[in-house]
Amino acid sequence: MPSKIFDSVDESLADVFDGATVMIGGFGLAGQPQELIDGLIRRGSTDLTIVNNNAGNGEVGLALLIKSGFVKKIICSFPRQSDSYIFDEAYRAGKIELEVVPQGNLAERIRAAGAGIGGFFTPTGYGTLLAEGKETRTIDGNNYVLESPIHADFSLIKAYHADPLGNLVYRKTARNFGPIMATAAKTTIVQVSGVVGVGELDPEAVITPGIFVNRIVEVAS
């Protein structure tokens, strides 16, 4: 079996293609796969659809990816942040599509993709602008909106430790979107602070089983 451990970020991203949907983990800087994002910028694939909680800050990372013109559309919960001027300008100039999703619906839609669920009724967003045009239903007296799964071609996430089988553990609130994004992509690429031996992770404490992980790159933290 070919090893899941890749020597370099660039090799791990070599088949990202134009038009791909790419999920990127992280909430703020916690869990953000900085080196993989930099690699994605070097890779230079265009017309990407990016799924992330935010839309980048400053001129690095996701913001730089947007500035480079590689992003066609972004699906996120909170694009407007301090220093999100690169996204703001691209959006106002009509250069980037935006789909704003309530954060919990975003998480549940990602989970649904990984779990083979075709759609689900959520109370979040009912009666708001973000549910306009969506199917609604009253179930047992409560109002729900039908939301659909979000599948990805690639997920780029950050974990703490991996073993060579791809089992992952995370660190504190850097866990956030990583475990669900790992399940929702055809190819999941993980940057980790360290690779440990098979059997060194406690089977009770593995958060992402190796079945969800295709590629691992160790990045000095």
Binding site: A30, Q103, Y126, L129, L130, K172
Partner: protein
């Protein structure tokens, strides 16, 4: 009735005092976060942060700062003994499933039915950004809002119907303002439970234009 209207600090103190012993709470970004400063150890309140943690401690200082440990406002925080971590889908499932007792949020407007507006000014050129606001609005058993009762222009933020885009419908159960506390029950109406300073029912009814119920007696 107290002798003066409440300061923001006093509002936070009031909210903190009203949180029941043993409650699980989510304190929204901004002023609601300051409520934690007034929670006592005896209250045994557990704080949830929607980016994946229960048992969140105070803001981290100095050497405590760990970039992997932040709250929903992306501020470094600390662990308390007995805390736990979980991923985003589990965290929002916890919220959406009604397991949190109280969420404390800010607001642009609240309607007399408890509809909440706090995510979008409605300005045509505003970039929409919702974060976890809609999930918080529908998830907790009780949603407490902290806000000034009127805008700088003098318009009531407690209204018959929202003019700002809604965050959630019929979700707010209580509003803490500098002049009064309001309890909302969509089947009953809005009850004034407490007034501060020179506030009167007549003045509140005039400002809000609502048929408020006097529950202060």
């Amino acid at each position: 009735m107290t002798s003066a209207t409440l300061t923001r600090v006093e509002m936070a103190q009031r909210v903190a005092a009203d949180i029941p012993t043993g409650a699980f709470v989510n304190l929204g970004i901004g002023i609601p976060t300051t409520v934690s400063n007034f929670l006592t150890a005896e209250q045994e309140v557990t704080r949830h942060t929607e980016n994946g943690m229960l048992g969140m401690g105070p803001e981290a200082i100095g050497d405590e700062i760990d970039p992997d440990l932040i709250n929903a406002g992306k501020i470094p925080v600390t662990e308390l003994p007995g805390c736990s971590y979980f991923h985003h889908a589990d965290s929002f499932a916890m919220m959406r499933g009604g397991h949190l007792d109280i969420a404390v949020l800010g607001a642009f407007q609240v309607s007399e039915k408890g509809d909440l507006a706090n995510w979008h000014t409605g300005a045509p050129d505003a970039i929409p950004a919702v974060g976890g606001a809609m999930d918080l609005a529908v998830g907790a058993k009780d949603v407490f809002v902290m806000m000034e009762l009127a805008t700088k222009q003098g318009d009531s933020k407690l209204v018959a119907s929202l003019t700002y885009p809604a965050t959630g419908l019929q979700c707010v159960t209580r509003i803490y303002t500098e002049v009064a506390i309001f309890q909302i029950d969509p089947n009953v109406g809005v009850t004034v439970t407490e007034m501060f300073g020179p506030t009167t029912m007549a003045r509140l009814i005039e400002l809000t234009g609502l048929a408020l119920i006097d529950g202060t007696k």
